[in-house]
Symmetry: C2
Subunit: 141 residues, 2 copies
DNA sequence: TTTAAAGTTGCGTCGTTTACTAAGGTATTG
DNA sequence: CAATACCTTAGTAAACGACGCAACTTTAAA
């Protein structure tokens, strides 16, 4: 089971937004894309999904951009993954009518619940990147 | 993240084998496939993988078939899933070099470990289908 | 009020993976 | 040696994922 790239990217960009949450300033797509090595056009689609899920807020027009909708401590991996993929984290198939199908299905539903719990205990604050040493500053002698 | 059908089928066929583990008798592909509504040719591929992983034992030739390699209590969902998909249950991508990529990756590795633990606590005995009321017997008056 | 920066939306496409079929090969038994 | 049942590999069609592009809307600033 590969973790979808989209979900991973979503975590990355949310980590970026979390790192500047305190300032209250918006971040623009171009800058976010550059920081996380993503295509701006693709990142927009991810941000749209996150906005519809209520995890980020957007401002349109000139000087627009994105910012986190809540405190980083209140956003978990579970919420992020559920926003990107609908329904469940681990989704088992409709079932093929086999004699053991129903039992197997139920077992994986339990696994999904366990996973929801563990993903629900990891928050965005744990993903905030270490502060860069004066990123764009030219203090060099 | 959809659970691969292959993994689900593997659980189903192993549940079948578990239900007759006590008898020590082998089960043939045709019968197993019929019980779980699968294509025999496809099921063989799954069983081959399970054999290579040491979860089932096969006997070739006439009166051949498959049987569980260990007691059902000693086979977990974690082993089954790991046998089908290599490496990890939740596999995150190589990383794209973004500023938060490494941290995000590490978080999902932790999720994978938690999931391994929960999958490791569900054994085949929980998947054994309820005993059929005299399946093929014609005791009717 | 004009203009340009920025988000919004939907479609298209290309490559990979998945699920499955088919056919020929190999081992075991009577 | 013939029948039976497992073994292996190649091939394929459909679905999915990961984007790219282009036209549209909103809004701040000049």
């Amino acid at each position: 089971m590969r973790l979808p790239l989209k979900t991973e990217y979503a975590c990355q960009v949310l980590a970026q937004l979390a790192s500047t949450y305190a300032s209250g300033e918006v971040r623009q797509v171009e800058e976010l894309a550059a920081a996380e090595h993503l295509s701006p056009n693709y990142l927009v689609q991810i941000l749209t999904t996150l906005r519809q899920a209520g995890l980020v807020i957007s401002r349109r027009g000139k000087n627009g951009g994105y910012l986190l909708a809540r405190h980083p401590e209140d956003i978990t991996l579970a919420e992020i993954a559920m926003a990107l993929e609908g329904g469940a984290l681990i989704e088992s198939s409709p079932g093929n009518g086999g004699k053991s199908a129903e039992r197997v299905r139920h077992a994986w539903v339990r696994v999904n619940e366990a996973m929801l719990q563990s993903c629900g205990s990891i928050t965005l604050t744990e993903l905030i990147p270490p502060r860069q040493p004066q990123d764009g500053a030219d203090w060099v002698i």
